[in-house]
Amino acid sequence: MTFEKFMFYLFAGILILAALRVITARNPVHSALSLVLVFFSSAALWILLEAEFLAITLVLVYVGAVMVLFLFVVMMLNINVDSMREGFIKYLPIGVAVAVISAIEMGLVIVANFGPDKVPALVRHGVEYKNTESIGRVLYTDYLLSFEIAAVLLLVGIVAAIALSMRKRPNTKFQNPSEQVLVKKADRLRIVKMKTEDRQS
């Protein structure tokens, strides 16, 4: 076994174990942290495939941004896990049976057709090869349309999130900066003339 193969099995094993932890952990925070490990291990697998740009993006975007937000939400919402687990045991046997049967069926098809001897060996590039550059080149040429549609998809996501969560409350207190800036001395300050008092002696 070469060192590379060893690394692959190591990370793949960690990935599967962590993925199992995501769905079996009792505490949602632990689930979210296991998911971080899943992303991290798959990033490592991508590095083994020489896709370092994708791997770094996965860590930066998913681990760095998405999962942190996710953890934040999990901690804020105080989800009642026990109520979500109701019926877990009841449905477990049938769920496991369906999963095992379909995994075996899918495995038979996939192993028979995409085994190591069926797929051409990985092309290894030299040090000077930059996959960031090659992704960039096809992204803005061959996949221009898909790239643009994905951008629209994100815009719809923003519109949807705002439309669903923004509520105008009639009694909200807010500041109006332009009024604040334009305020005159006369608006705030009243000068009152009054007689000076005699000093009490």
Partner: protein, 484 residues
């Protein structure tokens, strides 16, 4: 690197126009107060009108592929797109007063509706699996949000949640199937997939490459989910009932056209050589949809739920034409889906017409004695229901006839017989509504009020069922010429 060819952007002019205008609608809406919100609506209608004009003038004779094989402009796409614009425009018109009466008249409804139209256009014009998937997601994301837009209603929130979860599963299935096909053929381009399957898909002794049929199963499951064919129909009634009527109207009509285009692109253009495989799967889906849709609809007391089951049975009919597996069948299917979309906006339009502020006419008994209240609208509803049931001389009869004839032509008599049988069962619940309208006493005697344009369009919609039924020639010719 130098072999990159600049795409022919002009082919995607309708899409670009629609996207630009939708962004304009979004921005303009920000500066409008409640009183002037009607401008958002007018701008949305103007956008759809402009898109009709551009697509119409762009319609050429030859089909062209651009954006490195991921986009196609052809006549089938043009016709479907024009119908999508028109149907969406009618949906916007029907829903305007309804939303205003319920303080739901928001710019987001129109912006998201237009984004959905863009998604449908992309699905119609897609020429690679990637574009199909992205278009589908664009449409679905808009639909999920529109269902949830009525935030104070628990039913809407529940419907949106169900729709989102099941839609995500369906997308996952579809994507998994696509990845398998990509693994087997090494391409996402539909034309390349088609030619690969043609050459290498089936071995000398007639065996189909197992990875291809494996991927095909997942793709068909994904498509069936999106169409709402049995046994992947569970979401349809709940979402039709839970969503606000204008949203139900929107998601029940135009997306079916896009789904038809998706089937044509993936199964017919991409995997025609595997026809024996997908024919069998679609046959099971079609027969089950016809049976479940028509039989369960009888037990419904809620109009929207009943129409949801009726949709399921119509999906069965739509699939019948595709099962025929020849050009005549595809044209029949296309005709059917166009007519179905027109009929269903009519039926939901009537629910909106009878509803008023604080009252939702979505129960069957709300249609009782409609004839006493308004002879004209009762007659319109009669035409729409006859068309759905397939009673001559309405157009629904002709659409069903053509599909059944296409199936008979390929010697699938038992399929045709079961389709007719289930249609007869289905006719019961459509005609029950006509009985309620004409022979029962009205419970609710409130006058029916509607804006002039709404009255005009809903009358046109109803009369169209009769006119197209008497003179289907033009639309039939269009459907035949674009498929060939």
């Amino acid at each position: 690197m130098n072999d990159f060819e600049l795409p022919n952007f002009a082919l995607a002019l309708p899409e670009m126009f629609l996207l630009g205008m939708t962004c304009l609608v979004l921005i303009v809406d920000l500066f409008l107060n409640e009183k002037n919100r009607v401008f958002t609506y007018l701008l949305a209608q103007l956008t759809l009108l402009g898109a009709v004009v551009i697509t119409y003038y762009q319609a050429g004779i030859v089909s062209e592929i651009s954006f490195t094989g991921s986009f196609i402009r052809d006549e089938m796409g043009d016709i479907l797109k024009i119908f999508i614009y028109i149907i969406t425009a009618v949906v916007f018109l029907y829903s305007r007063d309804y939303l205003r009466d319920r303080q739901q008249f928001k710019g987001e409804f129109y912006a998201l509706g237009l984004f959905g139209v863009l998604g449908m256009m992309i699905m119609v014009s897609a020429h690679s699996f990637l574009t199909i998937y992205l278009g589908l997601e664009l449409l679905s994301l808009s639909l999920y949000t529109m269902v949830a837009l009525n935030r104070d209603s628990e039913a809407s929130a529940e419907a949106a949640m169900k729709y989102f979860v099941l839609g995500a599963i369906a997308s996952g299935m579809l994507l998994y199937g696509m990845s398998m096909i990509y693994g087997a053929t090494g391409s996402l381009d539909i034309a390349e997939i088609g030619s690969y399957i043609n050459e290498n898909g089936i071995s000398e002794d007639g065996k189909i490459n197992i990875v291809l049929s494996f991927g095909l199963v997942f793709i068909v499951v994904g498509l069936a989910f999106k169409l709402g064919a049995v046994p992947f129909h569970m979401w349809v009634p709940d979402i039709y009932e839970g969503a606000q009527t204008p949203v139900t109207l929107y998601l029940g009509a135009a997306p079916k056209l896009a789904a038809f285009a998706m089937i044509m692109r993936i199964l017919v253009e991409g995997m025609q050589p595997l026809v024996a495989d997908w024919q069998m799967m679609l046959t099971a889906l079609a027969v089950l949809s016809l049976a479940v849709g028509n039989i369960i609809a009888i037990a419904q007391t809620n109009m929207k739920r009943m129409l949801a089951y009726s949709t399921i049975s119509h999906v069965g009919f739509l699939l019948l034409g595709i099962i025929a597996g020849n050009e005549d069948g595809y044209s029949a299917s296309m005709f059917y889906v166009l007519i179905y979309a027109l009929t269903s906006i009519g039926a939901f339009g009537m629910i909106i017409l009878l509803s008023r502020s604080g009252f939702e006419a979505d129960k069957l008994e709300d249609f009782k004695g409609l004839n006493e209240r308004s002879r004209w609208y009762a007659f319109m509803m009669l035409l729409i229901m006859f068309s759905m049931a397939g009673v001559p001389p309405t157009v629904g009869f002709f659409a069903k006839l053509w599909v059944i004839k296409a199936v008979l032509d390929v010697d699938m008599a038992w399929l045709a017989i079961s389709a007719v049988l289930f249609s007869v069962i289905g006719a019961y619940y459509y005609i029950r509504i006509i009985k309620l309208m004409y022979f029962d006493k009205a419970v609710d005697k409130a006058p029916i009020k509607a804006a002039v344009d709404m009255q005009f369009v809903i009358s046109t919609n109803g009369l169209l069922m009769l006119v197209l039924g008497l003179f289907p020639g033009a639309l039939v010719a269009v459907c035949q010429s674009v498929i060939n």
